[in-house]
Symmetry: C2
């Protein structure tokens, strides 16, 4: 069993709760914390707050920026809590680097902002996804089936407007874990899809489109446009049809399972590629020297 | 001369000023107004405001949602001004549908929010782009040169974090005008680029990457990663190196010229494709019936 497989398998229910803090709340994310901060916009209105509690979710390569956000919040009169990597005495909680960091960041902040119900609903949905998607489910495993549909094809990723999180989560999972390129069409889908295949009709070959989350009026029309332009259009609904924070997190988790099977199908490792570790180290040292100059 | 060519040529300096309103300001955009609203976040902090002046930028297919935003602002005590298409007595100003609508929306709101200096700086930058990019500039025309570099290749679009506008503007221009598909990598560029080409090395063939706006530390590392993964990496700086609102608008305008030459090179029309007009009409009638049900 790969590390990632056991990590995914053991993920549901593994989040640490965090005591509820005083609002209003702001959540900003950098590096490994950025995707979680985007998802948390469904629970928390603001990125930055001058009162209540400011959460800063970050990995170590953004140390200097993270410290800036912490100071900014404290100067304004907010309590600032930092989760992620870095020196332990600066952290309200450690979140290890890795593809599952999004879950640990998100759930901790969900609890800390008083959204224990949503956090527990997310755990329930994740456990359901896990039970349907683990490798021992041979028949009708939705993650493996979808991965096989994506194999050797470049997926277009679409979602209803305002659901930037879904498109981002899938693009990242397919690249970081599935080692595959995808084409996000996050906004203005109808304007983009009606034009993008006109000059080179062959550029629609070997393409599949995923409609993520919900199929609203705009997505239904996008589906019609796509029928004549790509090989297949696949609707990937929220697990159990539940949207919002908990459904977003469950969709992210499902995407990781799909990407895991896709890497397996390509015969490549689903673990972080060694170039990623190298570039993160480069960014860390670039940001460190930048911080020293300031 | 195509309609679009003369429209682009005559664009700089054609914006109508609008009297400055009372702040604070909120700007929300729908349909043809969405991209302009994103750019205007560099001048205005909020999407929605409960006091001061709320701007609603929209085309007719989002009539019902536009009315909702207008009512919401007015009930909260803000003045609500709507620009775009629709019944004239509901509009503070008409903005015709089309690829250049972004400019008319954006400049009008720039003036209306008291940013006349930025609006005039944008006009100066646009005029410079026009003078360098019109077809009679045969040698060293940066828009035509870049279009030829993009021909038969699928561009990856990258920009420093927080510059979502640039990536969106290029994806839309290349599709709607250039009739070509591109691959936005708007966030987590290092995480995505180090993974996305591992499973299928050939998927980097015939690819070019555009780094838009500025080359910060992260983009410099992204460039290194890309060197071994795509054919060519091209830096597309802000016109005259000026960022912010005015540089963003000038970059958008430059993207339209590039897309115009790209369509020409492919031998296709740069005008809106007829499927676009059809899908907008479908969306209009879907939203109308939705509105009637409410």
């Amino acid at each position: 069993m790969t590390n990632l497989q056991s990590e995914l398998r053991n993920l549901p229910g593994s989040a640490e709760a965090y005591p509820a803090q005083d609002g209003p709340f702001g959540v900003i994310g950098l590096g490994e914390g950025a995707l979680a901060a985007e998802l948390l916009q469904s629970l928390v209105d603001r990125r930055l707050t001058r009162e209540g509690t400011q959460f800063v979710l970050t990995s170590t390569e953004w140390e200097a920026s993270a410290e800036d956000y912490m100071r900014l919040a404290e100067v304004s009169g907010a309590k600032a809590l930092r989760f992620g990597g870095g020196e332990l005495d600066k952290l309200a909680g450690l979140v290890e680097r890795g593809v599952t960091a999004t879950y640990h960041f998100a759930q901790r902040v969900a609890y800390a902002t008083g959204h224990a119900d949503e956090a527990q609903e997310a755990e329930r949905l994740l456990a359901g996804v896990r039970d349907r998607c683990v490798p021992e489910v041979q028949e009708g495993n939705p993650a493996r089936d979808l991965a096989w549909s994506l194999w050797t094809r470049t997926p277009l990723l679409l979602a209803p407007d305002q659901d930037a999180f879904l498109v981002w989560a899938w693009q990242l999972a397919l690249a970081r874990v599935g080692k595959s390129l995808s084409v996000p069409v996050e906004r203005d889908a109808l304007y983009i899809l009606t034009g993008a295949f006109e000059a080179r009709h062959e550029s629609g070959d070997n393409r599949v489109a995923l409609i993520l989350g919900e199929e609203d009026d705009e997505m239904a029309i996008a589906r019609e446009v796509l029928q004549t332009r790509v090989d297949e259009v696949i609707f990937v609904p929220y697990p159990e049809g539940v949207g919002g924070y908990s459904g977003g997190l469950a969709t992210w988790y499902f995407a990781l399972w799909v990407a895991f099977y896709l890497a397996e199908r390509y015969g490549v490792s689903p673990e972080d590629a060694s170039p990623l570790r190298e570039v993160i180290a480069s960014l860390e040292s670039a940001n460190d020297s930048g911080a020293r100059l300031n």
